[in-house]
Subunit: 230 residues, 2 copies
């Protein structure tokens, strides 16, 4: 049965840019599970009220509804064990650290580079909500969050050092083959790739080389995703 997933969309419904939704898109592709995505907007809480909460991704697999990207990944690996996403209980426990690091360090760092770009590519119905919620969260205007990004991007790139060290020693975060750790970080990087033209990675970074390989996996799932116009 095809899994249904509510997926955050921009003004163009084909523009899918949520880092959490992308983690699950990669996870589903890793398992070879077909998915039908439904474009969703930030303010369309009613459409996912059936999940008991107000954020995407939400998947519906037959009668089962699961929200929250980490919970969805756990569900998928339990329900469809092969090919494994986590690689066992200890690998899953370790992946939780990478997930927490991506949430805490990567998402915060990237947000301060592209929030204005996101505002400009999301559906007009979402913009007031987006501005208000993000300005409250960051304590400044959207324009201020993004100011000076050309110089500040260096600090973001430096914060990726642990990824760089790992990817110099092994081809994937999962080791010899991709795991959910790769889905987490690549999903996170799909966010700026899809909603901005600002280069968050340096071209000569081992992280960028790995991300290029991730873009080519699963028939080019990441590479072929619609990006905002230059």
């Amino acid at each position: 049965m095809t899994i249904i997933m509510h997926d955050l969309a921009g003004a163009d419904p084909m523009l899918r840019f949520s880092p959490y939704c992308w983690r699950i898109r990669f996870a589903l592709a890793h398992k070879g599970l077909p998915v039908e995505t439904i474009p969703w907007r930030f303010t369309d809480k009613a459409a996912i009220a059936f999940s008991g909460q107000g954020r995407v991704p939400v998947i519906r697999d037959g009668a089962t509804v699961v929200s929250d990207s980490w919970a969805i990944a756990e569900y998928l690996d339990a329900q469809y064990p092969e090919p494994t996403l986590f690689g066992g209980a200890t690998a899953q426990a370790h992946a939780r650290f990478i997930n927490a690091w991506a949430d805490g360090v990567m998402l915060g760092g990237i947000a301060r580079l592209i929030l204005c770009d996101i505002h400009d590519m999301i559906d007009p119905v979402d913009r007031a909500y987006f501005r208000q919620s993000r300005e409250a969260r960051f304590g400044m205007t959207l324009e201020e969050t993004q100011a000076g990004r050309e110089t500040r991007v260096e600090a973001f790139r430096e914060s990726l050092l642990p990824l760089r060290v790992v990817l110099r020693a092994q081809p994937w975060l999962g080791g010899a083959a991709p795991s959910y750790a790769d889905a987490i970080v690549a999903g996170t990087l799909m966010w700026p790739r899809c909603c901005s033209r600002f280069p968050v990675l340096a071209h000569d970074d081992a992280v960028a080389a790995w991300f290029e390989r991730m873009l080519d996996l699963y028939g080019g799932l990441g590479r072929n995703a619609l990006r905002v116009a230059a």
Copy 2:
């Protein structure tokens, strides 16, 4: 056969404080492998010249010599598979990220809180080397690296957010049981515990609660370790 390990020591040869050596002490204890440690000082390069490099930990297991904490952990898990330290190939690949994060984020953050304290507790023969090498690395005097630590410690504690998120969800970094990920982070925290009385963790932090549990493992290996006098 008892494994021999060269272990960084302070002026008091019983004061063992290297974060890398502590990772391996925990790893050996996890496997129930007996170890005989030999106190070593920063400037005693001749004593470990047989390893082909100049840093500890170095272990000698029969005719086998291994240096570098990560390489030693890999060696131990390959040579003595049970109980497992990494928990499988993917878990090991994921642990490498935690190792790189501990090296890049934790060690740098802690160094700026305790470098003067370290200087004061190491053997007098090491002090000139220690001051010169660390002042070159940090681009300031030892006294400057540690200045204002009472306020700066907050930023360090915030940088531990990924640990906190994980340890709210599971009892150990390895999940239901400790893995080498726990040895990495606990070993890193043994460094300030043994060479300083400055509290790098807040008492009400989930990370501190987990570290207390780590100190009690293996017959209180961490808790019973000699600390610098208050």
